[in-house]
């Protein structure tokens, strides 16, 4: 009896083990027939439009929420919930006329929803990280005072004239104001609904409302997979071709690429090491991400770096092509301007930084010139050698780039030794904020489609001006373009911004390196995904997928 019992249990176990290994079902065809299968690198941080700050969260919020304006394929602001708008002659008052649109609980989308949301964005109790979009950037009346706790949020310069009319008061004319409206920070929130769900807002499909192209079906905080379905009640539903969006967070790049190759994903990111493996594939592409990577010398704290010849020598010694072509290989573009390419279009529609040769005489790769300037700088300082420390993020790409920079500098500039300090990004940012660095490899992503998102950083006292560089002429130009006479003169402002950029480059305040691009795979079955370097990186409203 015992013998049989033992034999039976042994048999069961082996059957189970065998059973496990011989499973055979089709597991890759279970997603909806033509849902778009999208890979994300990181989970969503927040579905609360006024709390979210990262690109992933913005993308997903925009899938199911419409703001006043949306982006067209070229990144220009076009009507969404606002059907039309009037701008007062002094450029200070926008009157926006809302279309008939409804939330997924049937409530109409009203001007009051925007007023409530914008007040949340500046409410010190909410402490939204993007509140500066309304104050410093958007220049909405009283935003700065409310954030500072000096005025009540009800005094914000935005009012619901009636259900369908929203009026916005600005301190100064803001030429790019409409393009801010597609940033989720400015998206509406239905007050009654928000109050009914309280603190759970944005943590499940039941605690969000949609007024956009899709509705959220499955979601949990920091979900690794979630799904959205086309919103049949969307005001522009006829335009939406995809039945749904199927998101999958994959943090392992090899798994992501393999999933793409089996057809489980329609689009995925490819890292620098995988590029060689897929670069001849017609589905491989690179997409500009707008991020400018640059070296920030601490001009204030390091006397040697306060010497202009030393700084110019260092920027001339950098072979930016070698970095993008031999190290990164992801489509990143060598950059010789303080404002990166492909994110800000001027009054005539052309890219602000299309011409990459205009500052060649102060930053182009030229080993001889670099060595000359270097020798001159050393002589002025009365030294023969220099050791610099550069802080670098512990991520893969920055470490590799820093290694190449070190080699290029040490080869071209005799007597220079560069030590790299690799540290977690949080620590690097902390060190820069504390002024505790000599040089740093860092990056900046554009917050809005205007060169000011970069040039505004170098004014005296700006919290991102880590090198503490200061130039009165520069400050004056920036003031003129932000709050001064040029606010209403687009062409004149544009020209002055070039003047400002020239000062930054002539003075080698930063050493621009490259404009980051993302290497991606995109299935040939998919068309119409719109990629943008600002605010919403991917927009799926016009996407379609054939079987």
């Amino acid at each position: 009896m015992r013998k049989t019992k033992a034999a039976v249990s042994l048999l069961t176990v082996s059957a189970l083990v065998l059973g496990l290994t011989s499973f055979n079902t089709t597991v890759f065809a279970e997603t909806g027939t033509s849902d778009l299968n999208i890979m994300l690198e990181t989970p969503v941080e927040s579905l609360d439009p006024q709390q979210a700050t990262d690109g992933t969260s913005f993308e997903v919020i925009a899938d199911y929420t419409d703001g006043l304006m949306q982006m067209d394929a070229d990144g220009q602001a076009v009507p969404a919930i606002a059907e039309s708008y009037d701008l007062s002659e002094d450029g200070l008052t926008y009157t926006l006329h809302l279309r008939d649109a409804s939330w997924s609980n049937g409530d109409p989308v009203t001007a009051a929803d925007f007023v409530y949301a914008w007040q949340r964005a500046v409410d010190p109790e909410i402490a939204s990280e993007y509140s500066y979009m309304l104050s410093d950037i958007g220049q909405v009346v009283n935003a700065a005072e409310i954030i500072a706790g000096e005025k009540d949020k009800s005094e914000l310069g935005v009012t619901a004239v009636d259900d369908k009319t929203l009026e916005v008061q600005l301190n100064v004319p803001v030429s790019y104001f409409l393009s801010l409206m597609y940033l989720p920070t400015f998206y509406p929130v239905n007050q009654a609904f928000y109050e009914s769900v309280g603190d759970t807002f944005g943590t499940s499909p039941e605690t969000v409302l949609s007024n956009g192209a899709f509705t959220l079906d499955t979601y949990e905080p920091a979900a690794t997979a979630f799904h959205l379905t086309k919103n049949e009640d969307y005001w522009d539903a006829d335009r939406i071709q995809l039945p749904g969006l199927n998101y999958q967070v994959i943090q392992d790049s090899q798994q992501a690429l393999m999933s793409y190759q089996t057809g489980a994903l329609d689009t995925t990111l490819v890292n620098g090491e995988q590029v060689d493996q897929v670069k001849d594939d017609p589905e491989f592409q690179t997409i500009g991400a707008g991020y400018l990577w640059y070296v920030s010398p601490n001009i204030d704290a390091v006397p040697e770096l306060a010497n202009l010849n030393i700084r110019l020598a260092m920027t001339h010694a950098i072979n930016r092509e070698a970095i993008t072509d031999d190290v990164l290989k992801d489509g990143s573009i060598p950059t010789y301007t303080a404002v990166p390419m492909q994110f800000a279009a001027g009054p005539d529609g052309s890219d602000f930084s299309e011409d990459q040769t205009k500052y060649s005489d102060v930053c182009a790769y030229d080993a001889d010139k670099a060595a000359e300037l270097w020798a001159a700088g050393l002589e002025e300082l009365g030294i023969s050698e220099l050791t610099l420390d550069m802080i670098v993020d512990a991520d893969d790409a920055p470490q590799k780039v820093a290694q190449v920079l070190k080699e290029q500098w040490e080869t071209t500039l005799p007597g220079l030794t560069v030590n790299l300090t690799i540290e977690p990004k949080k620590q690097r940012v902390q060190d820069m904020q504390d002024g505790n660095f000599e040089a740093a490899l860092t990056r900046w992503g554009p917050d809005y489609a205007d060169p000011m998102t970069y040039l505004g950083m170098w004014i005296t006292g700006n919290s991102n001006n880590y090198g503490l560089w200061s130039n009165a002429d520069y400050d004056a130009i920036i003031a003129e373009c932000t709050t001064g006479d040029l606010c209403t003169n687009a062409e004149g402002r544009w020209a002055r911004l070039y003047d400002a950029e020239k000062i930054v480059m002539d003075d080698a305040v930063i050493f621009p390196l490259y404009t980051q691009a993302n290497a991606e795979m995109l299935s040939s079955k998919v068309t119409g995904i719109e990629f943008h370097p600002v605010a919403l990186n991917r927009v799926y409203k016009n996407a379609a997928k054939t079987e």
């Binding site: 279970e30 990280e129 954030i147 920091a222 798994q255 904020q433």
Partner: protein
């Protein structure tokens, strides 16, 4: 026995409190904060600190946290899922990790026992050598290597199993991660089973049992294996906790929405409350399991059980 259990419980409680304090201090020592983002200015950071009470002295923060915890409030996430109560995140994630870990323990224990038994019974034969080789590979190769190998072969090439976790098909998509995680357990159990079995098989009472005419399966399972199991349980217990709480890397590879991947993301983004809560739960589970093991030990081992009765 009762006095012993109470004493052990009290020690465990104090250990947990000490762990919590150490975690708090470690968090303070971590470079940066959840809010040292380049896009935030000083005023904004100050208001965020004030909002979450992070500007209070650490002692006050500690006691407030302990106080809230006693009410079942683990705090909210600052970064990886802003303002979401951590208990809400755990509600969905803990079961996933426990399921996959439990599955792995099951596979590992069963296969390990079989392997160990074969090796001991076929001592010094080709089977023994094979079993030893498998165990050495299992112990020395990290689970994420198995994860990548299995994912490539059975997931990508053969397409028998999904490469990524799928909530709609959780059993099927748990197979590859569970097998990857089970290898270390399997190898450890196999090695212990083998050596314990060899020792037991050599002992006098086995000779007695055999001479009494007991043979075959009964001899092995009732007399030998049962005695060999005792030390194995002490090895298995901490392995169970390791697996239940998920292997950090394996969860990341298979995109499993468990606690392991959550902890990695939380540490990288200085999400204090999430790191503290998860580390604390890990510690509590570990201490809890060790407590259970001590008690189980008495039940399984007749020598201990009988000795206590005789007290």
């Amino acid at each position: 026995m009762k006095k012993y259990t109470v004493k052990r419980l009290l020690t465990s409680l104090f250990t947990l409190l000490a762990i919590l304090l150490i975690l708090f201090i470690l968090m303070q020592l971590m470079p940066g904060s959840p809010f040292n983002d380049e896009k935030l200015n000083e005023a904004q950071k100050a208001s965020l600190y004030a909002k979450y009470g992070l500007d209070d002295p650490i002692v006050i923060q500690f006691f407030r946290y302990v106080g809230n915890m006693l009410h079942g409030d683990l705090g909210v996430s600052y970064k990886i899922s802003k303002n979401t109560p951590i208990s809400q995140m755990l509600e969905t994630r803990l079961p996933v990790s426990i399921f996959i870990g439990g599955f792995a323990v099951f596979i590992g224990a069963v296969l390990g026992l079989i392997l160990g038994l074969i090796a001991a019974l076929k001592h010094d034969t080709i089977f023994d050598s094979l079993a030893t080789i498998i165990s050495v590979i299992g112990v020395s190769v990290p689970s994420y290597v198995f994860a990548l190998m299995l994912s490539y072969s059975l997931g990508f090439r053969m397409q028998w199993f999904p490469m990524l976790y799928n909530a709609q098909n959780s059993f099927h998509s748990s197979v590859l991660p569970s097998i990857s995680l089970s290898m270390f357990t399997m190898a450890s159990i196999a090695r212990f089973t083998r050596s314990e079995m060899l020792e037991v098989l050599d002992s006098d009472y086995m000779l007695l049992a055999e001479s009494k005419g007991i043979s075959g399966a009964s001899l092995i399972f009732r007399h030998a294996l049962r005695n060999a199991l005792i030390p194995i349980i002490t090895v298995l217990a901490p392995l169970i906790v390791d697996l239940m709480t998920g292997s950090l890397v394996v969860e990341k590879i298979f995109a499993i929405p468990g606690v392991g991947s959550l902890l990695v993301n939380a540490i990288q983004s200085n999400d204090y409350n999430v790191v503290i809560s998860l580390s604390f739960i890990y510690s509590a589970m570990y201490i809890g399991i060790m407590l259970v093991v001590d008690i189980l030990y008495g039940i399984i081992d007749p020598r201990i059980r009988l000795a206590k009765k005789g007290d």
